[in-house]
């Protein structure tokens, strides 16, 4: 029974991983740029939730959309001010620009909020829920469910709407998309906005039950990298499956080996993947 409990809570957290990793894979697939600040975007969203709740007493129903909106704007800004200018430059510039941004965000948070871990109160989303003999934290259940729905929604947006087709057209061939009247810059900027908004929602959701610290983004970024590689680069359904899998792997390794090693197992999985299946489990060789 405990094992089932561990697996279900792993799946719930994994759905949140899937949500923000979808944002990373969208940006990556659109323009071949890896956002090394992705985890720090999630961190920022967590602090948005923290500040909104503790200072303004806003409930999750308000602070989750608020974080999504703020991070969407941040994504647009980062694209317009930085990314647009470095994509045609050397690889060094591409990687260092988002990595520098990560440091800037991380240590600004460190400076403002200090290194202490903070949490939102357990009672934020009413205690625990019993489902079929499992006792689950209501906040985790809510976060997992919302994240799952939104990740599927993002996939539908990309595959079933005209906007999604325009985005994917730019991802496939920037110049050809331009020829048929799509503005690549707009679409890429939008991808950054959507990608960052996914971290906004995911961050505000996990803030309800996860510890919040300025450096939390470092391990979250690595989790997103592993998720994207496991799911296959650019694939939202892949990211969803991989996110769930990584949530479970992490929960099981914390339960069976010890909590300090849960990240080690995931990072080791990343190295193993790079050696044996860099295209991901679902990708084609």
């Amino acid at each position: 029974m405990i094992l089932a409990q561990v697996i279900v809570s792993g799946l719930l957290l994994g759905a949140v991983y899937a949500l923000f990793s979808s944002g990373l894979t969208l940006i990556w697939g659109m323009m071949n740029v890896v956002n090394f600040a992705h985890g720090d975007f999630v961190m920022l969203a967590m602090y948005v939730a923290f500040v909104a709740y503790t200072l303004l007493h806003l409930p999750p129903l308000v602070f989750v959309p608020l974080a999504a909106a703020l991070l969407f704007l941040l994504g647009l800004f980062v694209y317009a001010a930085i990314i647009r200018h470095v994509t045609r430059g050397p690889m060094l510039a591409q990687i260092l620009s988002t990595f520098g941004l990560a440091l800037l965000l991380r240590y600004t948070a460190f400076w403002i909020f200090s290194a202490n871990f903070v949490t939102l109160p357990d009672t934020l989303v009413g205690g625990t829920v019993a489902i079929g003999g499992l006792r689950l934290q209501a906040a985790r259940l809510l976060a997992g469910a919302v994240a799952l729905v939104l990740t599927v929604g993002l996939h539908l947006l990309l595959t079933r709407t005209a906007l999604g087709s325009r985005l994917l057209a730019v991802a496939e061939d920037r110049a050809a998309a331009q020829l048929v009247g799509i503005r690549p810059d707009r679409m890429q900027g939008l991808a950054w906005g959507i990608g960052a908004a996914s971290t906004g929602i995911a961050g505000a959701l996990i803030a309800m039950f996860y510890y919040i610290s300025p450096t939390v983004g470092e391990s979250l970024a690595l989790i997103a990298f592993v998720t994207v590689c496991l799911g296959g680069f650019g694939s939202v359904p892949g990211a969803l499956l991989a996110g769930l899998a990584i949530g479970v792997i992490e929960a099981l390794s914390a339960y069976l080996i010890g909590a300090v090693y849960q990240d080690v197992v995931v990072y080791a999985l990343f190295v193993v993947l790079l050696w044996f299946r860099p295209q991901g489990l679902l990708g084609q060789a």
């Binding site: 991380r106 460190f110 190295v271």
Partner: protein
Amino acid sequence: MRIGLGVAAVVLLLAAPAAVGDPFIQRVAALVLLTAISASAWNLIGGYAGQVSIGHAVFFGAGAYASLLVFKLFAWPPIAGAPFGIAVSLVLALLIGVPTFRLRGHYFSMATIAVAELIRIVVGNWPLLGAAVGLMGPAVPRGLADLSFLSPLPYFYIFAAVEAALLWVTWAMARSRTGYYLRAVRAGERAALSLGVPVLRYKLVALLLSAGFTALAGSLYAVMVGYVDPESVLGILVSVQMVIVAALGGAGTLFGPVLGAVILVPVQQATNAAFGGSGSGLTYIVYGAIILAIARFRPGGLLELLHWRPRRAA
């Protein structure tokens, strides 16, 4: 004439710390050189080969830990651990480089950061390596081989010798076939591949050289400081330091990392002295902003700026 001036300048710079006599300044001068060594080592792969590692702390930490581990286990002088640290680094470099160098550049960067974090967590929980507390060097020097000096001056000269050797290796590499191939790889990997450049092999050569020298820098750090813990030698900020020093001065230039170290290390020492522990957070905000600004506006670093003007005027 120019060579004569250069030699005179180097001799002056080398003699200056001894002439000043102030131990604080001597210590800063030694740290500048140590920082220049690790940044020059990063520059081999990050600058010349254009493969951006953001986890070089793993090599630095291997060297630093190996030095103090041989002291703890066998009571050897710490510097005797350097070869072991280098060996471990080379193995880690192959582990990271072989799979990722077949993929696009991002994968290498992501793998370096993942392996560095993995090793940091493992070391931080491994009793043999002192877990979170770390390892200590000899409390009192037992002989010259311990390289334990009160004055920073001997370290300054040791580091100067190592950096000179490393710069020579870099210079020789840049002029050799390897250097030309790496430049081709950096300019466009696919083009280089289609021209028959064995891309994977030469990227690995650069990474192995870089990892080895970074491990040596870590050993020298451990010898001088006499104390290592997971955060101070394996933390992400150790990697950040190498990246920013090299990128500020000029990644892929011979003297860029030296220039970066000459500028950044005194600034860092001054902010630490002025703000104490709370200053480190501010330092890294500024570092992040500098890295971002270089990437966005001046990917060539400061040296490029210096080189540009005369050409434009001419």
